[in-house]
């Protein structure tokens, strides 16, 4: 959010003709975006008769549940990717270990939940009260956050600005963490159990829909709102936004940017941790989930623009909707091509805006 504002004003300051140019670019990009969007809408609403879902006019229930699926996936993507993009936005550090922090938090939360419930297997929702879900969530995320801060203080702090070197350092850490987690937790998928309060079903247009998914959406909205408030309404948030805009100026004003960096890294890794526990409850996690969720974060920030929270919202919405709609609204024989649509989405965005929807050039 801050990045876009800043880039707009600086562009105007340097080149007075910029507004006209950007409007022209915008109109071209809206045109490029509008055509496929219109085609997709027409397909989903009226034409998709041969698909497993059926067209939205005939099967409103399928449409609404798919939409909700897309929104809840978007919520998960947002929680994980916002941490990634927050860290990058301020420090220009691409944290390749983001997925590992995600997985670390998930495993710790699972372990803690098992201890709290007192069973190590066959836990059902009725065993779990709200406390034995929320406490592991916070504990797992806190551990991930502390590991993230230590990583920043020990390995990343002294080579600030060397993006590739930092990416390689975090990559090496992610390789080590992934291997150690595999050694400790084994290769089998494990999962958290939702508290009983959120495992009901509601009726939507004749379709049963799990409230746990709506719970995910709720958490994502709360996280997004908290992040917005933190960045826009607190002193620390103001400093962070100033740091995104001009790091050396913030230093020159006598602010200890090292502490700001540490706090940002803490929050970014904490968000990865929250995401990890949510995914562990939703679908379970296993070895390889770290790479997978690093990828999800990358796709979101590439679409939305690196370093922009608003971009993370837009990117996760687009990505979540595409991954939800593609498998059910493609003709039945072609559903396995749905992954290609993700790529088409990326290609479209990059063709129009190489730095993502809300990104700014380096």
């Amino acid at each position: 959010m801050t990045a876009d504002l800043v880039s707009d004003t600086s562009d105007q300051a340097v080149v007075p003709q910029q507004p006209a140019a950007s409007r022209r670019r915008l109109s071209r990009s809206t045109m490029v975006a509008a055509v496929p969007l219109g085609l997709v809408l027409a397909w989903v609403l009226f034409l998709a008769r041969g698909t497993s879902a059926g067209s939205a006019v005939d099967e409103p229930g399928e449409f609404v549940t798919t939409l909700l699926d897309g929104l809840t996936s978007a919520g998960l993507y947002f929680v994980v990717a916002s941490g990634f993009t927050l860290i990058f936005g301020l420090m220009r550090t691409v944290n390749m270990a983001h997925g590992s922090l995600f997985l670390l938090s998930a495993y710790i939360a699972i372990e803690l939940q098992q201890r709290m419930v007192g069973k190590s297997r066959n836990i059902v929702a009725d065993d779990v009260d709200m406390l034995s879900w929320v406490l592991p969530l916070l504990a797992g995320a806190a551990v991930a956050a502390v590991v993230g801060v230590v990583m920043n203080q020990v390995f990343l702090r002294w080579n600030q600005g060397q993006e590739l070197r930092q990416a390689l350092i975090t990559l090496a850490i992610s390789v080590i963490l992934a291997d150690q987690l595999l050694a400790r937790a084994g290769g089998l998928a494990q999962s958290m159990v939702w508290p009983a309060d959120v495992t009901h079903f509601i009726e939507i247009f004749g379709q049963r829909y799990a409230t746990s998914r709506l719970f995910i959406l709720g958490i994502a909205v709360v996280v997004g709102a908290a992040l917005w408030l933190w960045l826009n309404r607190t002193r620390m948030g103001i400093v962070i936004r100033a740091g995104v805009a001009d790091q050396s100026m913030v230093r020159a004003l006598g602010i200890n940017i090292g502490i700001v960096f540490a706090v940002t890294f803490f929050v970014g890794a904490f968000l990865a941790g929250i995401g990890g526990v949510m995914v562990a409850s939703f679908a379970g996690v296993a070895t390889g989930a770290d790479g997978q969720w690093l990828l999800h974060s990358l796709v979101v920030v590439i679409i939305g623009g690196l370093g922009s929270i608003r971009g993370a919202v837009a990117g996760s919405l687009l990505y979540g909707l595409v991954t939800a709609f593609a498998p059910v609204y493609l003709p039945s024989d072609y559903t396995f091509y749905s992954i290609i649509l993700t790529f088409v989405l990326l290609a479209l965005v990059l063709a129009v805006r190489p730095y993502g929807l809300f990104g700014r050039p380096e």
Binding site: R92, V94, F155, Q162, E163, L164, R165, A167, L168, I169, L171, A172, I173, S174, V175, I176, A178, D179, Q180, A183, G291, L294, L295, L298, V299, V301, I302, L306, F336, Y337, S338, I339, I340, T342, F343, L346, A347, L350, A351, P354, Y355, E362
Partner: protein
């Protein structure tokens, strides 16, 4: 100073080439056909990362995917049964198709990413790599997660692993010399200009995205060659061979060797393959918990140490050491010592150690 440095480098390359050419005579079968052949293939693929990084300033993680695309194309064209398209074509025709397909894909992907730079390009190519993995996994008409098995190399290489070794050596050498030659062409100079200052190059009238795309296409072509030799060597390919960890391993190889030195690609590959093959047979390894299963922890720690201590990898350490030796010797007022000092430095490079260790 400059001429002696180049001649040292060339001398090392010549010595290494001769030693590698003579290796099948003296080395054990396992060492030649598994360790060194794999080193050459991985080194070839990693050299494209080094080329893009050091000439154009783009760190690409899609190179292993491109090698995999060549491999899958060969598999689809050649295999007569099992998964895939089962075209049953002539293996040499398949090579031409694979090169064409890989280069085309590389040009398209390069064009998409041609306006992204730096860390953004790294992330974009990582995304390519992972999406490519899922494409090969999910689109069952070209592979599926099981992959394509029973891909025979052309008759000339079938059951002749030493010939395949020489093929890998020749392609590696050609790629190495080719990449070095590119640097002296106007195209290569333009690429270096773009690496250093894209805005100025653009102001001078160079089409920066086009040059980036072409460089990515060239690297894709070479990565495709690596993929072709690889599938002949393996006889099969599946999506897991292009998954995220394989992709990152290739970057790790380039980093271990030194991401700004072409030779480093093969050096890093050698270290990686040797560690992968021999780590478990080291004494005391079991005591400290580094069994074969924890190989990745060792690799991670090694990479961490290298990136923290020497960003230019092993090649950076070597060139730094030789520079210091040269500096020290140049201070001594004895004339005509160039020959005696260069000879020891060539001996200290691991490229020659490689061949010594093989005996």
């Amino acid at each position: 100073m400059k001429p002696t440095r180049v001649s040292t480098r060339t001398a090392v390359v010549i010595v290494a080439t001769v030693a590698l050419a003579a290796l099948p005579v003296v080395g054990t079968e396992f060492f030649v056909n598994f360790v060194v052949t794999r080193t050459l293939i991985l080194g070839l693929a990693a050299s494209t990362i080094v080329f893009l990084s050091s000439y154009v300033g783009m760190v690409s993680l899609a190179q292993f995917l491109l090698a995999g695309i060549a491999g899958f194309t060969i598999g689809n064209c050649v295999a007569e049964s099992g998964k895939g398209l089962k075209l049953g074509l002539d293996p040499w025709l398949a090579v031409l198709i694979a090169i064409a397909v890989t280069t085309t894909v590389a040009l398209v992907l390069g064009a998409l990413g041609s306006r992204a730079t730096g860390i953004y390009f790294l992330m974009l190519t990582l995304t390519y790599a992972v999406i490519g993995y899922y494409v090969f996994g999910q689109v069952t008409s070209i592979s599926g997660f099981g992959g394509i098995t029973g891909v025979n190399p052309p008759g000339f290489f079938d059951m002749h692993p030493v010939r395949l070794y020489y093929a890998a050596l020749v392609v590696s050498l050609a790629a190495y010399l080719g990449f070095r030659a590119v640097r002296r062409t106007p195209f290569g100079l333009t690429l270096e200009g773009i690496r250093d200052d894209p805005i100025r190059m653009s102001a001078l009238g160079f089409n920066v995205p086009l040059h980036r795309t072409l460089a990515f296409g060239l690297a894709g072509l070479v990565a495709g060659l690596a993929g072709i030799v690889n599938i002949w060597w393996n006889g099969q390919i599946d999506p897991n061979s292009v998954n995220i960890s394989a992709t990152l391993d290739l970057l790790i190889i380039a980093v271990i060797g030194g991401i700004s030195h072409l030779e480093g690609a093969w050096l890093g590959a050698f270290v990686y393959v040797v560690a992968n093959n021999y780590l478990r047979s080291l004494p005391l390894v079991d005591r400290i918990g580094i069994t074969e299963a924890r190989f990745n922890t060792v690799v991670g720690v090694v990479v961490l140490i290298i990136v923290v201590a020497s960003p230019n990898g092993l090649m950076g350490l070597i060139t730094g050491a030789t520079d210091r030796v040269r500096l020290a010797t140049s201070r001594t007022p004895v004339p005509n010592t160039t020959m005696p000092t260069t000879t020891p430095t060539t001996n200290t490079t691991p490229t020659t150690n490689t061949t010594e260790g093989s005996r």
